[in-house]
Amino acid sequence: MSATRAALPPKEQLDEQGGRPVDRRHGSTLLRHLAVVLAAGLLLVAVSYSVEPFRNFQLATVAAYLCATAGLTVLTGLNGQLSLGHGALMATGAYTVALCQTAFADRGMTGGWLLPLSLAAAIVSTVAVGAVVGVAAARLRGPYLAGVTLAVAVVVPALAVTFDGVFNGEQGLSVPVEPPPLSLGPYFPYERWQLWVTGAATLLALLLLANLIRSRYGRTFRAVRDDEVAARLAGIHVARTQVLAFVVSAATAGLGGALLAVLAQSVSPGAFSLTLSLFLLMAVVIGGLGRLTGALWGAVLLVALPDLTHSVTEMLTLSPAVAQRLEGNLPLAIFGLTLIVVMIAAPGGVQGLLSRLGRALLARRPTRRS
């Protein structure tokens, strides 16, 4: 604990009695986070009524990605463990949901509680996989960890082909999802319902993550990241903390994958390739490592950039073959280039730039500060 305290900037003055830093934000952390989540939820409902169905679907996709990127940013940014295997963890969640929903549909079961049950099952199965990988990961450092998780990312989607009796090979599985409940009216748009479901699940996950980050556990995560020896001297169980971070991150990745499967109503190994894992990493790095808002920027980028390049290639007059090649690969090239440039020029990412900008603006108005 003392290790993290020592690293705090001197700006946060120490309380005379307890020697503790005074938190400038007053009130309960939980209440503050609840208020933010509530506001975000209301905003989401308002938005879902005011935009067209396709935008609703896109927002829902952002929410699903946000689940995964938020978990990854906690793992990589706060705990210092790099995972290239989150695409595989998302696949685990997605396939679990597919198998559960198919099983329910085959037995003719219906009801609003089935989907949450499947999502919970997806989280449980991903937690199990994440615990296995996490226990291995806790013993590995730097490039070794990256290599193992890379292997996980390459190998796990291939398993769907190996055991095609269960997972139906490259074809994948379909995910039967029930229509919105009748109480919402007969003509309730399906995309709006999708946004509500994914939005609610993601906001819940974010609330839990935000509280975790501000809690004792979040501090131990950061302490382990900054200096393992110091953390151990301060009485933190390093390996246990790393496994915990990996499991939490895996759970959110599984939920994200499950939500994606519910949105697409199908899963196939092609959707969870190595490229997806790299995308997630890119999203959290560009957004700003270790910040939930950074994860939001990353998730938005993941959905917006392919859309943007699509409209760009449509504007240019190209032959269909060239246009198809460009459309598939241009977002990848931009992502890769941005990742390199951000890593070299602005390691704090978008959110880092924004907060630097915000601080600069605040510093201009000294009267406001005291």
Partner: protein, 292 residues
Amino acid sequence: MDRFVFLTVDGLSRGAVYAAFALALVLIWRAARVVNFAQGAMAVAAAYVAYTVSTATGSYWLGFVVAIVAGLLLGALVDRAVMRHVDHASPLNPVIVALGLVLLIQAVLGMVYGSEFRPAEAPFSRSALTVGGVAVLSPYDLFVFATIGVVVSGLAWMFARTPVGLRMRAAAFAPEVSRLLGVNVGGMLTLGWALASGVGALAAMLVLPTELGLHPHAMDLVFVSAFTAAVVGGLDSPPGAVVGGLVVGLLLSYVSGYAGSDLTPLAVLVLLLAVLLVRPGGLFAPVAARRV
């Protein structure tokens, strides 16, 4: 028994390529303390250049030479233009940048060549010669063994016997002292990247005809196997990388021969995890005190 002999020879031939690729990883790791996750993508890029040259001129050998030259240049370029500017304070940073390179290179290849499989031709027949009724070696296997043998012994000779090799080792192990003694440390680093990337390109040229063909993602699994090979041998040891490559090649060959080729990726993952959990420093590492 016939099958066992065949699988062993096939595994050794495949393992020789993994060994070369693992050697490329080890070269960069020793020189710059970076595991070059973009190695596979860079090697595929060189192989695509060779494909273009070969189809334009009709000569396989011209393409082969061009691939190695392209690999050398690409390695130097990646070091000078990208890796040199990365903050190495956290070991995460070079890894993340290398992954960005993977995305970028694969996307550019996809844009230029499309993402369909292109045939990768072999310069020699791949059908095995029979000795005493047992199918043993194909001329292509012999070619692979000979090429890798020449490259590995050439590198060993260079590092052990030539002034350049000595400077490169010095620059890798004690950069400050070497700089004081007049060694061009930055240049040696670039040379290391170029050499490693050239070896990687060579390995790609050798392995692609035995796989499905040329594709932007063709080396993904090869990279994972080669990384496993490098880890099996210990990331710091070039002889270990060669042995590790042969071990991984044999294992994959037996698994795909006796249990089904679908299981080879899983076998790689299991081997990698087993080695890292039991002997994280590789099979040949001396016992060392572990940092917390």
